[in-house]
Symmetry: C2
Subunit: 213 residues, 2 copies
């Protein structure tokens, strides 16, 4: 398998964690998003959305959208499972993952921040305030759920890491880059710290990727 | 079941379509998002994220995040299926749904547009240009995939409606409200029109909901 990748992409980071948890080797193909390499025609052929990650299977099929890729990996390589077995628990885990993937990350990715700066002419200060506002809005809600739900354990759901955790850790890494104060989110911080003691999460970390700067 | 709902919410609209396709009756509980009713304490108890939809099961469990709710409904009420049976096809359908739910909708929902206006002071013209920019960016990529993939049929995947279609129709409805020119997206327009001939899609439409204005 090949993973079209960018060390700093949260969405690619999620897939790297899943691949590492499943013990699946892959070829790392770097696409420099900050330099706009995703808009070059060669990559446009790979991904009409001009987004990473793209997982290319050995048969040549290309999968896009990080959560769809992770669900595919979980269906085709069930051990260790990234989702619990009951439908209700699966809904909880997916909803935690989506609370990050749909509510926080899309509003703060590089292309949105670029539009704010280049097209709307917002200041650096306003851009950082925007970033923090959406992280805080999302993390406040997530912290409330994680802190009060009986299902929360060592990880987002019970005592094994899964789909929600592999979304959480990249989002926290991103928040840290923007100097977001994490002290109002002790449950998030605790789970993030616990995840980062696991080798799958460590190997997927941005700093250890071949294109890290 | 109860669905905390807002007639104009795209995410709630997705769940309404899924419930109608599965033939599941539900109690409609309107939450007036444009009036900020999601921030009232009573609803904050229901949804710490202050978002609709929330599906409350007969046992009192509350499910959030539209795609997690739809997957739950599909797992617990398998007929008619909203996802195909092969892992590869499931990944394709999920990725089409997520291309809407993660790339287009979050950047254009009411609270983001509100922040642009109230906090960043952008003009109405800039706000509409923002909306159209993200719809166009997302629809261009989606149209390219739908138009070229052999798996596209009468609907987004083959000849039965499913998870991708129930994301597509609410997004197209929203784009129409903002007068987005749909002529560059003939495949999207064709699938949307076909879906809207089906009674499940018709019954879920914003204009027919009890809180429609």
């Amino acid at each position: 398998m090949k993973l079209y990748n960018y060390f700093r992409s949260s969405a690619a980071y999620r897939v790297r964690i899943a691949l590492a948890m499943k013990g699946l080797p892959f070829e790392y193909i770097p696409i420099h998003i900050a330099k706009g390499r995703q808009f070059e025609p060669a990559f446009g052929e790979v991904s009409p959305q001009n987004l990473v990650p793209v997982l290319e299977l050995d048969g040549g099929e290309r999968l896009v959208q990080s959560l769809a890729i992770v669900e595919y990996l979980d269906e085709t390589h069930p051990e260790p499972p990234l989702l619990p077995s009951s439908a209700l628990a699966r809904a909880r885990v997916r909803s935690l993952a989506l609370a990050i993937a749909c509510e926080i990350h899309p509003v703060n990715n590089l292309r949105v921040l670029g539009y704010l700066t280049k097209t709307l002419g917002v200041t650096d200060e306003q851009r950082v305030a925007w970033y923090r506002h959406w992280v805080d809005t999302g993390f406040r809600a997530l912290e409330a759920r994680l802190a009060s739900d009986a299902e929360t354990g060592t990880f987002c759901h019970g005592d094994t890491p899964g789909l929600a955790d592999l979304c959480l850790v990249p989002q926290v890494a991103n928040a840290r880059r923007f100097d977001v104060d994490l002290s109002p989110y002790p449950t998030i911080a605790r789970i993030d710290a616990r995840c980062r003691t696991l080798s799958a999460f460590q190997r997927a970390a941005p700093d250890l990727q071949p294109d890290a700067e």
